[in-house]
Symmetry: C2
Subunit: 328 residues, 2 copies
């Protein structure tokens, strides 16, 4: 592969963000944030760990790694602006395939007016993509996982477990491709980060957000610990797609709690602001489900409780539950 021709092929023809001063033509990129706070995160995907050629076409690899990053920006309530990509290239990937990976990122980035402003290209034994994203948020308006308070409504966008289910379908390519299976695969390969929904929440004074990159059990635990509160989740409120219920009737509950990367948003908001959250979801074209509530911490450490089959169980961050008296 010719590194220079590859770099030329992925270099943007123009930039969209008005705050950008210098893109990828110098030692570093430069931008001028006017009155905004800056939000930034980095995420890496490695071949054989996060995807294989079997589970992802090149363009989808690009989409997914950037989507995972943008989801972090959405969970902070920020607007995506820039991304940088460091790629490690093994000899068994062609320039055309690599260009498809960047094309997948570009298509998703374009839909948010994001600019590719930097990166690095190195050789190595396994394909790896490390993406840095930068977003802007109005001063003091970033959303944290530490702001949940007793009395809050607990909610989640979209449906859970679909990504994990889609992976299962991909790992069993002999299955007949029903509409449901196609849907689940799409949810695994090309998740849509909840940027639009998060942006419609800007009028709400206090709202807690966390992106579901590791099952809601883990994310709920993070909110509980960061906010020092107990969370109560009604298992009947957890949203599942028709597709996952039909294809995986015996697994969907487990995958919803602990399964892969749905990139939905889990959050909490005061009861009086809940109607506004519903409206934001409507505007963004996203379903939203009330799945529980926040209570004052009762024990020594914050816990997440799950109400299932008439009983309250504690939920560990791995999604494992065990029967336990409430507040133990």
């Amino acid at each position: 592969m010719d590194e220079f021709s590859f770099i030329r092929s992925i270099k943007p023809d123009y930039y969209r963000q008005s705050s950008l001063i210098k893109g990828i033509d110098d030692d570093a990129a430069v931008f001028r944030p006017s009155g905004h706070d800056i939000v930034t995160a980095v995420d890496t995907m490695v071949e054989g760990v996060h995807f294989t050629r079997q589970t992802m076409e090149p363009e989808k690899i690009g989409h997914r790694v950037l989507a995972a990053n943008i989801s972090d920006l959405a969970a902070m309530g920020s607007t995506p602006a820039f991304y940088m990509v460091s790629i490690t290239i093994p000899s068994n990937w062609s320039q055309q395939e690599l260009e498809c990976i960047y094309e997948g990122m570009k298509k998703l980035g374009d839909s948010y007016q994001m600019d590719l402003i930097g990166g690095d290209t190195v050789s190595g034994r396994e394909l790896s993509l490390s993406v840095t994203v930068i977003g802007m948020v109005h001063k003091g308006k970033a959303r944290y996982r530490s702001t949940a308070k007793p009395g809050d409504v607990l909610f989640v966008t979209g449906t859970l477990g679909d990504s994990r289910a889609g992976l299962e379908c991909l790992l069993n390519p002999q299955w007949e491709k029903s509409a449901e299976i196609t849907y689940l695969i799409e949810r695994h390969q090309t998740p849509v980060p909840r940027v639009s929904f998060a942006s419609h929440l800007s009028q709400i004074e206090r709202i807690t957000l966390n992106d579901v990159s590791d099952g809601i059990a883990n994310e709920a635990k993070e909110i509980a610990e960061a906010s020092n509160v107990d969370l109560f989740i009604e298992s009947e409120g957890i949203p599942f797609s028709k597709a996952i219920r039909k294809v995986f009737p015996e697994h969907h509950e487990e995958w919803g709690l602990s399964g892969g990367e749905d990139f939905e948003l889990l959050g909490s908001v005061p009861e009086e602001d809940w109607p506004q959250v519903i409206k934001a979801a409507e505007h963004a074209g996203v379903t939203i489900s009330r799945i529980g509530h926040v209570k004052e911490k009762e024990g020594a450490a914050p816990v997440v409780m799950l109400h299932r089959k008439g009983k309250w169980e504690t939920l560990t961050s791995s999604g494992y539950t065990h029967l336990k008296e409430k507040g133990d």
Copy 2:
């Protein structure tokens, strides 16, 4: 390795930058730049490509990958503020070794008051470190490679080729460790980015800077092309350390032009500001050498000319030269 205990071990106890609002405890980091432009870059180092266990101890790997990134910030005239680290961990690296890598970054970062504000930890088959750095620069004060003008003095900090020479010493461990060899190895393993020097240039209206991460032949070409000018370099002006002259009398010129990553700064400045550049170097405790000058572009494309043994030759970006009439 226990991922959670590893992450706990590398998490900072406190943060230093007053602009930081949220560090590594949420989906993304948040900071508030007050009246500054933001400078950002990413750089990746892969085991077996950029280092081996033979050429680098873990702490030095950490130092070097962050130094390479900080050098990019210095070349923009910006002050380092934050870094994020995405690490890919193979099973043959122990937690203790990994902690040493982060310790190497921390020590260097601490010397600039930098905060580690995010990152990612994934498993893979080869050790890889992808570092994102973020710096601040006063509005409109970033230094670009596109601002060189005819009449400018061309200069470079420090000495060149040492890093490449140090690598050679490391690849020949049977050599006796003289003071010179120790010096060259140090220059390869623990380069010092020229942040202090760059910060002392802030009063100069126009100065062009480019960091020497790939030999000055390549960097000079980048300045020439970005600024659309011709550069003239006197080979006798190129600074070499006593160590490289002594240990590699037959290679130092080639390595100075095209050799490894010295992380010095190559730049150009109007003649009248040259004394201020000398003063900045003195304040920063860095040597500085005038190595040539900038002229109007004579041919169709910008060129870099090298004066050697009484003749002008054109210098390609790979460091290869060939005899050619000036301006051909």
